[in-house]
Symmetry: C3
Subunit: 347 residues, 3 copies
């Protein structure tokens, strides 16, 4: 994607000093700027780079006055930092939605319906009776089973698997190789020591604005739905068991696992490598430290927990500190034992 | 898949009251039933839903007598709950094996042989000299390397990778994006600090009735075979190292890792996020709690262990309880130290 | 791949006794050798197998003199063990690089360039303006985004996803379903409790001789690069966050996670299921035990750490040992408390 300096200035509501016809194709730090790049100067500590940068354009504050000649075009705006951030977002957004049309070979089953501005990458597979909304981007090697619904503006990255009957909301992003809706881990022990598979017939529902990380797995419900509520963000390599429900705007970091039928509240923050057992409830606004193990329901909202099994974060820090000194603690106890023995003896 | 109420009644050995020509395509809870659904009534707590449900048919106990008019067709059977469960299994089974034939484009190397009733999805790849049994279902985007053997009735879900020379038994299910037979992690340190790759030339053998979860990885043996015995069930995101052997009917939950050359016995139950070091042996019927770390062989069968490093489950619970109270323990020790100092002083 | 006994002897600089025209296609242990196999005898404990093996050829030490007739051809070399190892490596190498050419259907975007001896498997996707070096092997179902560079002799296994703008060095191996360069986990909390996506515009750079395990995920940098230095070996199911840098020849075992912006030094050895927080630095030659949690920078090189949070390995072992005896420790403390109370009473 290429823009002229003038186009960018217009987007940002800024004024140009210099060549506004130059073409910009990339964003860069000011000290690393090359021809075709745009950068910004906010912290004046970096001002010396302004006079040497090879970037084609630099966004600066309206109040800024250069002390030497500048070869780059300057775009003057109210706040150069937030203008650059806005540019980043705009650029990212356009990049994400740039692809439109169907690359061949790709596969669509009978009755699959597609909205406008959809991208279907080569080797993508869309099953029967799927309903794919407007502006959905289906990257190469994506598999979508039968009867799947995907809302407008969702991005399904390469290698994602969405199994039959799942429902994906609007503005969702699913990162590469994530698996949505595979069978839950349900096996009934038999008298002879073998296990019988419990049929997993439900689906997964992602509401709107959900983000799912690369190689994360979300199992379908045994019956009904595994539900990921609006605005939830899941990192990479996370496991979500069957019939789990995750409340709005909860964020979970990489490699955490949530066992079957657990309900996690809204606006929780769960760090990486946490393990959560099945069939419990976690209150809203709970914060859980990395590598914690949650084995019981958390009723009170807003708690900060850590440890395995987890308890109050601060108390856990105290226990942790003493854990390191356990050999010292034992030594002191032995000393006490000697002393009281001496005392006993001396009596 | 659609059946008439009459067909379902015949399958379940039940009698119909009402319209037995209605078409059923889905199973549902009685309170959520819609036209085309079949449901069941076992617990009479739910009886009021029977008179309002929109489901086309409801399975009820032979002894049951409705107190009001029912719009749904009723199927009377000995035990409505187990009849419904049987229907679930039948439905799931048929769904799993419904697909037959070859979708295009798909790829098969020279000498690949396929049994009857095989499904090969679009974009599936089967290497040279593979031998694929009857009724095997190879979903879209599956990769099967050269010389792989897959037994009858196995289901290979979308995105699974089975590398060359691996052997898959009968009635196995491999869930999406699992990797079977990639290189083990073997590197020999060199004097200059670099590592030399140790060739990994073995394979993976799954015996019959094995289930492998989504995004799970099982490394091939350095030489010989990594072996997953009959009836083993592995959940999602599990790592199994090279030359590991897992005994019959052992069940392992998500995100557990087993390092190279370890042998796990039969009928073990291993929870999620467990880590097991390499080159050890774990006895039959061992039970290991979530997030445990196993660093030594377990010789005695039937132990229940937890913790990292793991020891007896109950003892670990006791230590865990005191761990929380370590600050209190230390405080009491300090008090003792004061007292004995006082005692010393007073002498 | 097939070779005659004579060809193998020439490769190893050995002399043949027996039929040097026999064809060899596989390597095997001497006790499991079958016609067409080659094996070796180094430890004389296994000598009896030499007289019964069905292998076509056996590599032996030059000094060795058989005591009975041998049906296999013998290849005499200086050191039979290292000769066999060399053969293993040669075999593995040839196997890895055997495939050449383009299987159809496969996809290449405008401006994609390919070196000589490249393999492009069926259903592989190479984006626009990619630059693929000589002898690179791109297996089926690989996705390579736009503007990706891959150095000579790198092997990209089936199902790998390399996102746009990433750079892969020479002699890298990326195992199945690994994801290189997907979005980092960056979300800015908003006043209403929702999160705004922070654009992730950087890339991932793998230097030369890097190995990445199956289903491992490496996030792209927010801006700039996530960098994996020369000779780094990552096992399966590892998570590497955005803007992480891993120093030369560092080795990381399966299921470990490294959070964003952390810098790991050279020649570190990090075991499995370790968690490392973001924005810290880990010194060269650090060794970290399995399931450890690293929450602070490690300044001093060469430390051996374990535990969560981690501290000195040996100290941790001591604390661990006492942890098991915490109930005993408490019991003894209670006894002391009784004694000093008695003492107090007796005063």
């Amino acid at each position: 994607m290429e823009f002229t300096v003038k186009q960018i200035a217009t987007l940002l509501g800024g004024e140009v000093e210099g060549n506004d016809a130059l073409t910009i194709s990339k964003l860069a730090k000011i000290e690393e700027g090359r021809p075709g790049d745009i950068s910004f100067l906010s912290n004046l500590k970096y001002e010396p780079h302004l006079y040497t940068t090879q970037a084609s354009a630099v966004i600066v504050d309206r109040s800024f006055q250069p002390k030497k000649p500048v070869s780059a075009a300057l775009i003057f705006v109210e706040n150069s930092y937030s203008a650059f951030t806005r540019l980043l977002e705009e650029y990212h957004q356009r990049l994400n939605y740039a692809r439109v049309g169907v690359e061949q070979p790709s596969y669509a089953g009978d009755g699959a319906q597609f909205g406008e501005q959809v991208y279907r990458g080569a080797f993508s597979y869309v099953g029967r009776n799927c309903h794919i909304g407007h502006n959905v981007k289906i990257y190469p090697h994506v598999y979508i089973g039968d009867n799947v619904r995907i809302g407008d503006n969702s991005i399904i990255h390469t290698g994602v698997r969405i199994l039959s009957n799942c429902v994906i909301g609007h503005y969702c992003t699913i990162h590469p190789n994530a698996v949505i809706g595979s069978d839950g881990f349900g096996f009934a022990p038999q008298p002879d020591g073998t296990y019988k598979t419990i049929p997993q017939l439900g689906n997964v529902v992602l509401e709107d604005f959900v983000s799912i990380g690369a190689n994360t797995t979300i199992d379908c419900a045994t019956m009904g739905s595994t539900i990921i509520r609006q605005g939830v963000k899941l990192d990479n390599l996370i496991q979500i068991g069957h019939n789990v429900e995750i409340g709005r705007n909860t964020v979970i970091a990489a490699q955490t696992g949530v066992s079957g039928s657990t309900k996690i509240g809204e606006n929780c923050i769960i760090a990486g490598q946490v393990g959560i057992v099945g069939h419990i409830t976690i209150a809203n606004n709970t914060s859980i430290g990395a590598q914690s193990g949650i084995s019981k329901s958390i009723q009170e909202p807003g708690l900060k927990l850590s440890g395995s099994p987890a308890f109050d974060l601060k108390d856990n820090l105290r226990s942790t500190a003493i854990y390191r000194r356990l050999p010292d603690l034992e030594r002191r106890l032995i000393e006490q034992e000697k002393k009281t023995n001496d005392t006993s003896d001396s009596r």
